[in-house]
Subunit: 271 residues, 2 copies
Amino acid sequence: MKFRRSGRLVDMTHYLMEHPHQQVPLTYFSERYESAKSSISEDLSIIKEIFESRGIGSLETAAGASGGVVYIPSASRDYSGQILRDLCEKLEDPGRLLPGGYLYMMDIIGAPSLVQAIGRIFASHYRNAQVDAVMTMATKGIPLAYAVAGHLNVPVSIVRHEHRITEGSIVSINYVSGSKKRIQTMSLARRSLKPHSNVLIIDDFMKAGGTVRGMMDLVHEFQSTVAGIGVLTEATHAEEPLVQDYVSLTRLSQVDERGSRIKVEVGNIHD
Amino acid sequence: MKFRRSGRLVDMTHYLMEHPHQQVPLTYFSERYESAKSSISEDLSIIKEIFESRGIGSLETAAGASGGVVYIPSASRDYSGQILRDLCEKLEDPGRLLPGGYLYMMDIIGAPSLVQAIGRIFASHYRNAQVDAVMTMATKGIPLAYAVAGHLNVPVSIVRHEHRITEGSIVSINYVSGSKKRIQTMSLARRSLKPHSNVLIIDDFMKAGGTVRGMMDLVHEFQSTVAGIGVLTEATHAEEPLVQDYVSLTRLSQVDERGSRIKVEVGNIHD
């Protein structure tokens, strides 16, 4: 099928968005559209200009015989600032307060478009970190982890508290839940993370950091390294946190259950 | 910022892809690009033609003062046929066989691009079903449910076996796990599904259908209706299944643990 430039631009934009962080050879596009490589190059420079000026992402081109183009989604500071301020405002709704000072967050984690935006922000932050896999803890971290992994084009490893017979052999470790000082177990299917991976840990909530600390230990059990740690919300905590290098999108600085007041600010991602 | 047609096409394609199943007024685009509505209409007809000819989806335009355009992602029969045949082949790998005749599937559920494709296939199938929410059971259904919900632009409700203090009041029901004939409990946070919703149930695996049957009962507890039921893999089962109207993408027709053979075919979605 022969395409005019306008049609190519629409189809290429769609294709690139569906294939982030993947090298696409120019020959792929020139065959797809029966067009000269020089025309494809011009198309790509138009897309690149728009993606960059709109803060959508960047297109990186590699020259040479194996030359191609890679779309790297990003989130501009304006974009993420807007998303994060809205998120803080939503989190400050006193209607979220549950007995024990817990916050109801499933409406936020249950909204796919917001979760995708959060995924884009984390993926943008770690876009040059050579991430091979994203790890998270079931259950609430899962949607966030997929949104990040989708933008980075890497697989997800889901850590669980309980064992499942449908996962084959597993690796388990004990860890101390930071805030409750209770020894718990977490496990990951042996097959679900390749050894020597560089792993980005994503979780929805971090208080003392015990769960994240456990996941870091689990990463090492797989002869792998930690590429980074991203949490949606961190709570301020009286003691020294068990984790130092992490990126938080929001910070719960005050939960006053009796006065029904919650104070939430943008996390350290914009520091 | 003033845009030429080529730039508008790139940016509009991106915008529409990020906002599926949402009405976008033409004035939004004409202000965004400082362009006449007539130019925007021409742009949209180019995008529409490409989206339709490539099987990406359709653009539906509504005339009048509140006129606008809605992008509805779809999956052509060619596209879904290819994805599903590849999936069957992957599932037939005897290396997946676990003791008890279970299959290891986390590599499939752990691959975001494949999960997105599966989500697009389900979302395309139910695109006219007026879905208000997607419901799934923790844990393995979650990635699939989000991929479907993202394409339909609706929220996700996650049903669990155990209660969580961070969810506020919950609605619980007992159900009979079909294959094991065991009474179990499933629950959903009261806040996580609006009453009078039309709910699409998505799960990774269905054997006798007890879990799906339980979710259907739970939907009714929320004064809601079932828009449809989609499962990634169904296993053939000796008894009459507890659920009739469902859509399966793949069907596990034979698991021979001793001979290390698995037979998988495309499910009823293409019947």
